[in-house]
């Protein structure tokens, strides 16, 4: 079977043969960037289609079913519509910030993809602070949202942006703490090391109850970080019409929409990497035949399967739950999730020191 590492090393050798080392590095950066961009856009198209179909399934309707087979080209048609629309900015907006905000949000969510390990040997940047980098970078996105809300010069946008600011900053804490639980057990912040440490079993199975708790907290907190229902207060359509992107039209809105899905992708990737073993297959200790069969399923199927599972969870929340109120949202974080996460982290540290985990 061809491994991804064979392909990447072949590209590296071919380029080194043709170009100087500096140019090779540059060319590889561009190649990797384009590859990730294309990959992510394909993912987003699938997610948007999936979201609509999931929503349709839950809401007794078909979802898109006119454009293409089973409506599969609907998303592409929508993107073309958004591209052709005028990106209108009202007179009263702060033009610079207004136009900059969508790109900042987009750039930040792409940055968070850098340390992700897609498959064995397919990782753009194997840094030793990978997980920390992702949590740090993904919280910059709130600045873009605040910029959008403030520069729109619209009261709905401003309320939405302020809500979003309070929300993302709060939920960043428990998301970080729940990842830290695994980091403490595994002893490394590097994405590659975290995946390798799960070769004999995923952390969600190895780490007893505390890691399962961390997983639940992470999914809740990251749903809130993505501004997805039931935490979609920033764009609560029954309260604030469209929240912080009320004034955006055309591709400006399109980019915010795109970013929402890229953020979901990042969240799903981190959750599957940290808790569900990344691209590693499902192994049960002692069942050699079973493990061997599992090994035959390619790594990318494992990774994407886990991603889609988590994305489906997040979509399921969205189409089932009512929205929280802003004070309830903050109460949930500061009074329940954060103290429990801290206690949980202490328990995890204790387990790790005693070596009770598998």
């Amino acid at each position: 079977m061809i491994q991804f590492s064979d392909i990447t090393s072949w590209i590296h050798e071919t380029l080194s043969g043709l170009l100087s080392p500096g140019l090779t590095f540059l060319a590889e950066l561009v190649l990797a960037g384009v590859a990730v961009l294309a990959m992510v856009l394909v993912f987003v198209v699938i997610f948007v289609y999936m979201e609509r179909k999931v929503a349709g399934f839950m809401q007794l309707r078909y979802g898109p079913n006119r454009v293409g087979i089973w409506g599969s080209l609907q998303v592409i048609a929508d993107v073309f519509k958004l591209l052709l629309k005028e990106s209108f900015a009202p007179d009263s907006v702060d033009k610079l910030l207004f136009n900059l905000a969508p790109y900042l949000v987009l750039a930040v969510s792409f940055m968070a993809l850098a340390p992700i390990s897609w498959a064995p040997g397919l990782q753009m940047w194997d840094t030793n602070i990978g997980v920390l980098f992702i949590s740090a970078v993904s919280s910059i996105g709130v600045i873009g949202i605040l910029m959008a809300g403030w520069s729109s010069n619209n009261k709905y946008s401003l309320i939405g942006a302020m809500r979003s600011g309070a929300q993302i900053v709060s939920y960043e804490l428990s998301a970080g703490l729940s990842i830290l639980a695994v980091v403490a057990m595994c002893g490394s912040l590097s994405v590659h090391d975290i995946i390798q440490s799960q070769a004999d079993g995923w952390w969600i199975f190895k780490g007893h109850l505390p890691i399962i708790f961390s997983f639940v907290v992470y999914v809740i907190a990251s749903t809130a970080e993505c501004n997805r229902a039931p935490f979609d207060l920033a764009e609560a359509e029954s309260e604030l019409t469209a929240g912080y992107h009320t004034e955006y039209s055309g591709m400006g809105f399109g980019i915010f929409y795109l970013t929402e899905y890229i953020n979901m992708l990042v969240v799903a990737m981190v959750a599957s990497t940290v808790f569900l073993g990344g691209w590693l297959p499902f192994h049960i200790y002692g069942f050699e035949a079973f493990n061997h069969v599992m090994n035959f399923i390619p790594s990318w199927i494992w990774f994407f399967g886990k991603i889609f599972f988590i994305i489906f969870l997040i979509m399921w929340f969205r189409w089932t739950f009512p929205r929280l109120r802003i004070d309830q949202l903050l109460k949930l974080e500061w009074k329940y999730l954060l103290p429990l996460s801290i206690v949980n982290l202490v328990i995890v540290a204790f387990i790790t020191i005693m070596g009770w985990h598998f």
Binding site: A229, D232, S238, P322, D327
Partner: protein, 375 residues
């Protein structure tokens, strides 16, 4: 500004700001405009503005005959069209002292209670949507559709039925009416159980409604609130009990009361009212009287000079029809006391000091239909 604290340094002083919620807003469900003064997320003041859908129905009746006026009443509270028609017809019948056949009375009550069911099902969906859950909206519409099919088959229309006329009903129901309804009611009971599993038991939903939009009993009385809104504050005001019409006095049903006073109590009252409506219909189905469906009426109705008043219980509260007749074939004045107009008065007192999200929750549970406010 009131809340400006001058002792604070300039950069820490805050200002209130005004947000227009509506006339085009996803959760006002119509063209109501609320001018909300906000301090951050907290509501300081609310000023409702009316008149965006004023069609002058009351004035139009003065140049139309009585039968024609009844068509207009379907357009007031379009979710209680049957009950509005019924109110008008009852007022005219009272003036002419017409005896309505028993069969017509029974059909009227069945239709009115079905109308209450459709209205509450739609309310359930839109209430959940205002609180942020989109899926119930589709369920509510699905279930309402089953009842609208019955309306369509028996009355010819789905929204503005104009089925109940002075003297009885427009036409007899289909032979399959009773069996259709029996299968429908079984379905509706299943739907109600589904509503409870999906939303009523949801902790987020409960927390969003409990303790929100508290309307004390005294305030409900003094503002003239009626219907489920008032009954959730413990005010016993069911017109079907106190001033029975069309044979409600012969039926056995409870007046749903709740002392919770908050949005959650209003939610529970409406959910329970749906079950009570089913119970009322079931009592009538097994012994639907035979006979005429309409009493003989003259082609042009002329009321004797005088004043007539009739009140009925719509899905949202007490609808009063006040007719002043000068003996001609047109009313001298026809005034409607609509439930939504009085219930709208509660929006300001119960929401001052609450959050924006609470405003949506309590607006949803008061269940306003804007054309009913403006007429």
């Amino acid at each position: 500004m009131e809340n400006q604290d001058i002792s604070l340094p300039l950069e820490e002083q805050t200002e209130e700001f005004v947000v227009n919620i509506g006339p085009q807003h996803p959760s006002t469900h119509g063209v109501l405009r609320l001018e909300a003064t906000l301090d951050g997320e907290t509501i300081k003041d609310i000023l409702p503005h009316l008149g965006y859908i004023h069609r002058g129905i009351e004035k139009m009746t003065e140049s139309l005959g009585y039968k024609q006026s009844i068509y207009l009443t379907s357009r007031m509270d379009y979710l209680s069209a049957h009950i509005n028609n019924q109110a008008c017809s009852l007022a005219v019948e009272k003036a002419l002292q017409v005896e309505v056949p028993e069969r017509a009375k029974a059909i009227r009550i069945i239709m009115a209670e079905l109308q209450r069911l459709t209205s509450h099902e739609l309310w359930w969906g839109s209430c959940a949507m205002d609180i942020g859950a989109v899926t119930p909206f589709f369920l509510g519409f699905r279930d309402r559709e089953r009842i609208l099919e019955i309306f369509e088959a028996n009355t010819g229309n789905r929204l503005t039925m104009n089925y109940i006329t002075p003297g009885g009903v427009m036409q007899d129901v289909l032979p399959s009416f009773v069996s259709d309804l029996k299968t429908l009611l079984v379905k509706v009971k299943g739907y109600l159980a589904e509503y409870d599993t999906l939303i009523t038991g949801n902790i987020i939903f409960q927390r969003r409604l409990q303790g929100v939009g508290v309307l004390p009993k005294e305030m409900a009385i003094s503002l003239g609130c009626t219907g489920p809104t008032a009954r959730a504050s413990g005010v016993s005001c069911d017109v079907r009990k106190y001033h029975p019409y069309d044979g409600y006095e012969k039926l056995e049903f409870k007046e749903i009361l709740n002392d919770g006073c908050d949005s959650w109590a209003r939610y529970l009252v409406r959910m329970e009212e749906m079950r009570e409506s089913i119970y009322i219909i079931e009592q009538l189905l097994d012994n639907l009287p035979e006979g005429e469906y309409r009493a003989k009426m003259k082609g042009v109705i002329k009321l004797p000079a005088g004043e007539y008043y009739q009140r009925v219980e719509t899905a949202r509260g007490e609808l009063g029809v006040y007719i002043v007749s000068d003996g001609t074939n047109k009313p001298y004045r026809m005034k409607f006391r609509t439930p939504c107009y009085s219930n709208l008065a509660a929006v300001k007192p119960i929401n001052v000091g609450a959050k924006i999200g609470d405003l949506m929750a309590s607006m949803a549970t008061i269940d306003l239909v804007i054309p009913d406010i403006d007429r």
